[in-house]
């Protein structure tokens, strides 16, 4: 059973790579324009070539990344967040919590498989216990009873690649999803494929009357999953107010990933 939405995701990532490659070298160097007067504290004097700055990052596709960042902010404002708000308005709080728990439980396949791939057995066992507890006592994942005892673990294929020595590569802002790197985007695609295969298995077990029903259910799940993911995510574009938000988010993302890979 093929999932059309999954194919769509893979296709869009490929398109993204093409765009990324084309945009390579587009990050424009500042040009002196007519009527300009040099700044009192010019970049050329204050920024020293021999000093390393925390805010520096390997971002060769910065021009494209900043455009996608803006696109994401607009997408969020005019489509994503209104849908999420409607969802939050329609459904009672306990339903929202149940939905979040349900999807979080399904997505534990990610830390489970990746902990195993890195032979992090403690994390693997904790995640396995969480899945067993939440799927049984937690009624199919609707309740997250495990968290009281076992904290949720965080592993993904990007981290697995990092664990085996692959560097992050260029920073990349993915449409809709946001900050990533070339390595982590690859990881994302593989994690999505693993998740998809698992959902297929579960669907087959459900043994539905027709393939159409199955497809509809899966599409519905995917949409709800997306809405729930945004619902759980507190980030709001430009809420920092900082004109350097792009730079700050980039630094925090790269720092957080480096930390995750190391642990």
């Amino acid at each position: 059973m093929k999932n059309c939405l999954h194919e769509l995701t893979v296709a869009s990532v490929f398109v993204l790579f093409l765009v990324a490659l084309m945009a390579h070298g587009c990050a424009s160097a500042p040009v002196q324009r007519q009527g300009e007067i040099p700044a009192k504290r010019p970049v050329s004097e204050i920024v020293k070539p021999d000093v390393q700055y925390v805010i520096d990052a390997f971002d060769p596709w910065e021009g494209m990344n900043r455009r996608i960042y803006k696109f994401n902010a607009l997408f969020d404002k005019y489509l994503f967040l209104p849908v999420v708000s409607a969802y939050e308005w329609i459904t009672p709080d306990f339903v929202q919590t149940g939905v979040s728990n349900f999807f979080n439980n399904l997505h534990e396949i990610k830390p489970l498989s990746n902990a195993l791939l890195q032979f992090k057995m403690a994390k693997f066992e904790m995640t396995l216990s969480r899945i067993v507890i939440n799927t049984t006592i937690g009624m199919g994942g609707l309740l997250d009873v495990a968290t009281l005892e076992i904290p949720r673990q965080d592993e993904d294929f990007g981290q697995t690649l990092g664990f085996y020595g692959l560097g992050p590569g260029p920073y990349l802002v993915i449409p809709v999803l946001g900050p990533s790197t070339l390595r982590d985007t690859g990881g994302l695609v593989l994690d999505a494929a693993a998740y998809d295969a698992m959902i297929d298995e579960i669907m087959d077990e459900l043994d539905m009357d027709s393939n159409d029903d199955e497809d509809r259910l899966k599409a519905g799940l995917t949409v709800l999953d997306g809405i729930d993911t945004r619902h759980q995510q507190g980030f709001r574009y430009y809420a920092t107010g900082s004109p350097f938000e792009y730079d700050l988010i980039r630094r925090l993302y790269l720092e957080a990933r480096e930390f995750q890979v190391a642990h």
């Binding site: 700044a39 803006k70 809420a239 792009y246 925090l252 930390f259």
Partner: protein, 424 residues
């Protein structure tokens, strides 16, 4: 974002321990710890879980030309928390660089909403959104001018919400720089009379803006080993310690309570790192302000004069310059030249004095409606400045022995005092 960074940094917390005796049991006797950790949940005043609120936006100047690079700052944003019945309305002004929805502002919103107030939360005039959309000069830091801008915004916000809510009386408060602005706004209201505030409370204000920002600038400059050119090493060290803390705690969480847990587990060291963290947080706020002001006023400080930046142009190099620009650099190289050009006869000293609460001392002395809360160990004040407040405000000043800069604002005793002040 700043809160997140401070929290992240605060993870390296190496602190001096607590448990003071006597009637005031705020948990941190160390001003630096208090300023970074604030008030852990178990010591906080009870807060409502949910607040009935709306995010609102205003166009302050119809003809304002907003540069492409600030395309997302199209309106002044603020929030209204509202009661369903007739109730007093309180305006809350954020501290330096603070947004109307910063974590401190959300706490204030909860406190006053829970106590039965309508609450209008306003960003600081030093916050980029305010500079771009609501500052007349786009050169923030002039407390008299900024307070005029605030007053205009308050009048417009009131126009926008007055049909939705029933208001009995008006109140005003602010913390840090917002507290000093509250006093100037109150004075302005004595002439204009739009609100006739019944009570105004200043929480942890600076006395002289210039002297307080000098102190904050120094916290950064004096506590990065080897100076700012070695900031990268300082940062790397922070990240290493972050890893250690993670191993110690077994999990990560970006709350003040997490910092408190670390504080309990880690033995005391010294103040240098905490002071540096406070300095970094202040520098991040002020560099946002400086860059925004520079672009809006076309001052040519960091960005070449007359250059128009596009929406997707890299700002990384400007960020490097902005973070190397202290508040005092901004004061001397942009702020002072701007206000001097408006009034060539004025001296720099006169300008600095006009930015101090001392300039309205007679008003503060006789204005029974204004109260003040601060701490003996306030990091942005010297001992003499605390004495000045004590002498000017008399019984209207509540000066706690500890709490640092705004660390104890939401401690239960403080909240009780604050609500009593407004209700009596």
């Amino acid at each position: 974002m700043k809160r997140l960074l401070l929290t992240l940094f605060g993870l390296v917390l190496a602190s001096v321990s607590s448990a003071s005796s006597g009637p005031y049991d705020y948990p941190f006797t160390d001003a630096y710890v208090a300023t970074v950790v604030n008030t852990p949940s178990e010591f906080k005043a009870p807060l409502p879980k949910k607040v009935r609120m709306k995010m609102l936006a205003l166009t302050v100047f119809e003809d304002r030309n907003i540069p492409d690079v600030f395309w997302y700052q199209n309106k002044l944003r603020y929030s209204l928390a509202y009661q369903k019945k007739k109730a007093p309305l309180i305006f809350v002004i954020a501290g330096t660089g603070g947004s109307f929805y910063s974590s401190n502002m959300q706490l204030f919103q909860k406190i006053f909403f829970g106590a039965g107030f309508h609450v209008i939360s306003l960003s600081s005039p030093t916050h980029p959104n305010f500079i771009v959309t609501a500052s007349t000069s786009s050169v923030p830091g002039h407390i008299v001018e900024d307070s005029r801008d605030l007053y205009r915004v308050m009048e417009l916000a009131w126009q926008q919400v007055k049909d939705r809510i029933e208001v009995s009386e008006f109140y005003l408060t602010g913390y840090s720089l917002g507290a000093a602005q509250a006093a100037f706004v109150s004075k302005l209201d004595e002439d204009k009379g739009a609100f006739n505030f019944r009570k105004v409370l200043m929480v942890n204000p600076p006395l002289s803006l210039y002297s307080s920002v000098s102190k904050l600038d120094k916290m950064l400059l004096e506590n990065i080993p080897g100076g700012l050119d070695n900031f990268n090493a300082f940062w790397a060290d922070l990240m290493r310690q972050f890893s250690e803390v993670y191993r110690l705690m077994g999990y990560i969480d970006f709350s003040g309570d997490y910092l408190y847990e670390i504080h309990k587990k880690r033995p005391p060291k010294d103040h240098a790192k905490l002071a540096a963290l406070i300095g970094i947080s202040f520098r991040l706020s002020s560099s946002d302000m400086v860059f925004t002001s520079d672009v809006m006023s076309n001052a040519g400080l960091i960005v070449p004069k007359n250059r128009s930046l596009s929406t997707h142009e890299s700002l990384t190099d400007y960020a490097k310059v902005a973070t190397r620009t202290s508040f005092l650099d901004y004061f001397n190289e942009l702020f002072w030249p701007y206000f001097q050009s408006l009034d060539p006869g004025m001296s720099k000293e006169a300008l600095i004095e006009s930015l101090s609460l001392e300039s309205i001392e007679p008003y503060l002395k006789q204005a029974e409606k204004i109260g003040l809360v601060t701490n003996e160990d306030e990091l942005i004040l010297g001992a003499k400045e605390v004495d000045f407040f004590r002498q000017v405000f008399g019984s209207r000043a509540m000066i706690y022995p500890i709490g640092g800069h705004c660390g104890n604002m939401t401690y239960k005793d403080n909240v009780e005092y604050m609500l009593d002040f407004f209700k009596n």
